[in-house]
Assembly symmetry: C2
Homo-oligomer: 607 residues x 2
């Protein structure tokens, strides 16, 4: 058995070298350090039907060090999931074998390549295994030692220890050498182990090139009553003298691949029979019934509260819905879901990167996560959102406490860039309702949306204007008030201000149309084009920085339609301070008075 594993490891090295040589780029030396670790995993520990990647009972393998993709693909070849021809098409245009793994090649759950993300995602998969699917699959993660510098790894380690995820095994490939130099810990494998143990993990230190020792380490990890780490001392480029443990050999093909392959004993064509898991059916929460919440027109309700009420009701009807929060559930009101469905609520504490990654892991198993925190704090997880798009993940995110309208807490708590950020996520949907009935309908719509959807909610109460039976849709908008002199386009808190401005203008005989643009992406092009054509001009007003938000979304929509119009843009231009919401809206020039003043400029000049 050990001989086969050594041969398999040699094949994985050779195939890593061949793939990178064919591509003319890639990371063979980072692959070679972990080849023995992965050979033993494939042959004897992993339980994964490569021919049935959607089998819910499968183990999961996450390559947190995604740049070791040649090794990952060499494993797929050994397991019969890709051909040698496909392997040698690595990194070519159209190949499923991209520079870093993505879900385009099954059974890859998530894209990696931004370091420090694989282990956090694995925590989500492991949580899903224990608390949602209730299946005994194990989640294996290959981590690099360089990425142990990323805080997100420690968010994951911390949470896994706290949650007692005994179905999670991290394999840490301590090859000592980063991209440009030695890592902080070098080969101090005991140092890693000590840190992991302090966080409640079971850690085993091992020579990562001793296949018998690795086998025993995995067995020990499998038997642990807590998350386990196999901390493996390895050599980068192991097996080929010219690159073995040499600096300056990161991320490039070998100079002489033929000689290297010869040194490794030549090409092999071993096939490995990866063990199959026992059959298993994932648990599903039985759907119940709950009427979607509605509110009477004229009520005053915060949209963040409506989010919580709507999410709790949605959870009753749809057993696939789960919720996560970053320890602010009484602010975002996801606490209402937590109270109604405690078994499907995940408290992620103040660790937004982990929260996002865990949601990615859960959706990879078919669950529908809704994750919430303050809109401002979603910026903490920006790289994870970016990578979630590469993972083709379906996620529903809610960000509360939008803009200066939150008042006294000051700018650190104000989301003023969230629309810009979420609009610039590939395939995203961006929603910013102005009232409770809109919010409730949009929460329901989000459950069925592909890609990453973002709902921005308000701290303070706003008046319900949308009748409960009026259809609210992704890509829609609402004409709050008719008028043909000019149009005011708003969303969220500024709808109230726009309506008040229209009232002021009406007293002066100016008829302003007010458009509630609750769907920022996709945006309601037809309604905007009509407003541009039928009025003297548009005022777009938002509680957000001028860049990348509603204003630029409106401009982009009109440009795309090739419709030209005067568009004036009111947004937050100076750094806000603490104060009452009304003071801050006025100071930013986005309140009713400011809107009315801008309207007078448009009308005065053109009318």
């Amino acid at each position: 058995m050990s001989d086969f594993r050594r041969e398999l490891a040699a094949q994985l090295r050779v195939d890593s070298i061949r793939a990178a040589a064919a591509a003319g780029s890639g990371h063979p030396t980072s692959s070679m350090s972990a080849a023995d670790l992965m050979a033993v995993l494939l042959d004897g520990h992993l339980r994964l039907r490569y021919d049935r990647p959607d089998d819910p009972a499968n183990d999961h393998l996450v390559f947190s060090k995604g740049h070791a993709s040649p090794l990952y693909y060499a494993m797929l070849k050994a397991a019969g999931a890709v051909s040698d021809d496909e392997l040698l098409g690595f990194r070519t245009f159209g190949s499923r074998l991209e520079g870093h793994p993505t879900p385009r090649i099954p059974p890859t759950d998530v894209a990696t390549g931004s370091l420090g993300q694989g282990l956090p995602v694995a925590v989500g998969l492991a949580l899903a295994g224990k608390r949602l699917d209730r299946l005994p699959y194990r989640v294996w993660v290959l981590c690099g030692d360089s990425e142990m510098a990323e805080g997100s790894m420690w968010e994951a380690i911390q949470h896994a220890g706290w949650a007692g995820l005994d179905n999670l095994v991290a394999i840490i490939d301590v090859n000592r050498l980063g991209q440009t130099r030695e890592t902080m810990l070098g080969w101090d494998v005991d140092g890693y182990a000590e840190r992991l143990r302090a966080f409640g993990w079971h850690a085993v230190v091992v020579d990562g090139h001793d296949v018998e020792a690795v086998d025993r380490a995995y067995a020990e990890a499998e038997g642990a009553d807590r998350p386990a780490a196999v901390v493996a001392r390895t050599e980068k480029g192991h097996g080929v003298a010219v690159v073995e443990d040499k600096p300056g050999k990161h991320g490039k093909p070998l100079d002489d691949p033929r000689a290297a392959i010869a040194e490794l004993g030549g090409e092999r064509d071993l096939a490995v029979s990866v063990a199959a898991p026992a059959d298993g059916t994932p648990y599903r929460f039985p759907p119940g019934s709950a009427d979607p919440p509605t509110w009477r027109v004229g009520e005053e309700v915060a949209t963040r509260k409506a989010y919580g009420v709507a999410l709790a009701a949605l959870g009753a009807r749809d057993g696939a819905v789960v919720a996560l929060d970053g320890e602010v559930s009484n602010s975002t009101h996801s606490e209402l879901f937590a109270e109604a469905h405690p078994e499907r609520y995940f408290e992620m504490f103040i660790a937004e990167q982990l929260m996002l990654a865990a949601a990615v892991g859960m959706q990879a198993r078919g669950w529908k996560p809704f994750a919430s925190t303050f809109g401002a704090f979603w910026s903490r997880a920006a790289d994870f959102v970016r990578m979630a798009a590469v993972s083709r993940a379906d996620l529903r995110l809610c960000g509360s406490h939008a803009g200066v309208s939150i008042g006294e807490d000051g700018p650190s708590q104000m989301a003023l860039e969230d629309l810009a950020f979420f609009r610039a996520v590939h395939g995203s949907t961006v929603l910013h309702p102005s009232d409770a009935n809109q919010t409730a309908q949009l929460v329901r719509a989000m459950a069925e949306l592909p890609g990453i959807s973002y709902l921005r909610t308000l701290r303070g109460a706003t008046k319900v204007r949308t009748p409960a039976d009026e259809h609210v849709r992704v890509g829609g908008s609402r004409v709050v008030r008719k008028g043909d002199d000019l149009a005011i386009v708003a969303c969220g808190i500024t709808v109230d201000e726009a309506d008040a401005a229209a009232e002021l203008l009406a007293a002066q005989g100016v008829r302003a149309r007010v458009v509630d643009c609750y769907s920022v992406k996709p945006i309601d092009v037809d309604t905007l084009v009509a407003a541009a054509r039928e009025t003297a001009g548009l005022i777009v007003v938002e509680d957000h920085w001028p860049q990348g938000g509603l204003g630029e979304a409106v401009l982009a929509a009109l440009a795309e339609a090739d419709v030209q119009a005067t568009v004036r843009h009111l947004a937050v231009r100076d750094m806000p301070v603490s104060g009452k919401p009304a003071e801050l809206l006025a100071a930013a020039g986005i309140d009713a008075e400011a809107i009315a003043a801008a309207a007078r400029v448009i009308i005065g000049r053109t009318g």
Copy 2:
């Protein structure tokens, strides 16, 4: 002495309660848990001339748990830096005492309020003290226990341990209760200490309400030969029975402040003489001389390489310039600075949040940090950039490997949202040069820019078009080619494509103007307005998602000027894959052929 400290602590509690009561909001209970810790710090350990906040020899105090601002401001009052009247103006519009601390109130170095950021910034201050200023000031940080869940705290802990920052003391206020529930570790102070020790820290566990014990703990921390943590077991709301260690009391004023103040023994008016540091003059690196680099027109040079060369030369002339990188310095080419000025280069390993925070700390001490990583990975530090703007920090950031033009590595490594993100940072400057001579001049300009400036560089080589003696300026652009039929507006790699497209069009008798819009924010409005007025329309082409980048910047500039024009926008609309740069530019529809095709539509329709 202990009696005075106990009285001072009582005053800090009372004043915290008074400030929150006056404001009607705030976090008195989170302040009360740390009052004894801060009383002992003020009286006996901190060496900070509150009357001379700019004294370079001062100790630094960072409130990482920024929501304990009532306590922070109560300390300022006790130290004579604010009056009681100002204290009671907490959170009112115009007050320097905002909901969370900002540098508007000296001697506050940085804004806090997004948890997990104060300790990373403190690492930057401590690095500045040891390696740059070479002064014996100590950096004290008050941390909350909830924020220990943030990975960024562990990035800081890890680096401080590695770097041996014996001038750093973290005081961890373990009051057990977060916003909605108990923290993961509760009162397991030994658990915190064990973790910290595993990362190379000296940790002291203490009863945070025993002023004698706290005094001894600080003395022990001061004497440690490594970074030290005082892990203090405390009670949230300590001293007032109705809130003491009670859940549900986070972030709200006390119901009956008068009774609470009475329970604490009433108001006091103690003044504390905070110790002064010994006089000290910060070290400054002597300026040398180095000619700014230039390249000949027609040379092929990657702008990332030009960045490195220019930065190294800048460092020679300006001793205040320092550089940081996230372990990719041979990709960003900051390695050239590291080689030339090793004493001013900081390897931050793969920990982008810490890198950004450390740069914030260094600029707070007057240094001029340039920090670099892949453009895509700046998204990892997005919340830190956001908060740096609230801190009014002057930072220079470089992001390499822009867009699909990087090729085979695939989408995880491609910056496609960075322009959107950095444009939406308050007060930011966003630059994306197309050639080496532009890059070099912009690097020099960045050194003198206030606020956060971002330079986007390319992986591949581009042809030098800008003569070395041509002035390149923030807010400028360059007309690469004259023409009045239509205008193509590009930046970075798409300038090459735009010029090639113009060549194709010229062969068909179409004269396309090509504008190299290397300054994306601020943008050259005059040049864009002229292009809109003098041609049939604009094509904006960028290697970036359609949202928030150059295209929307151009639309916003034209709208602001109230100039109407046909604008067609070519950008990356589908998720890219691996491939050769040229294949990916073509697939995204942003190469010369695609630009020429779009031009024909504009000309065909309008001409």
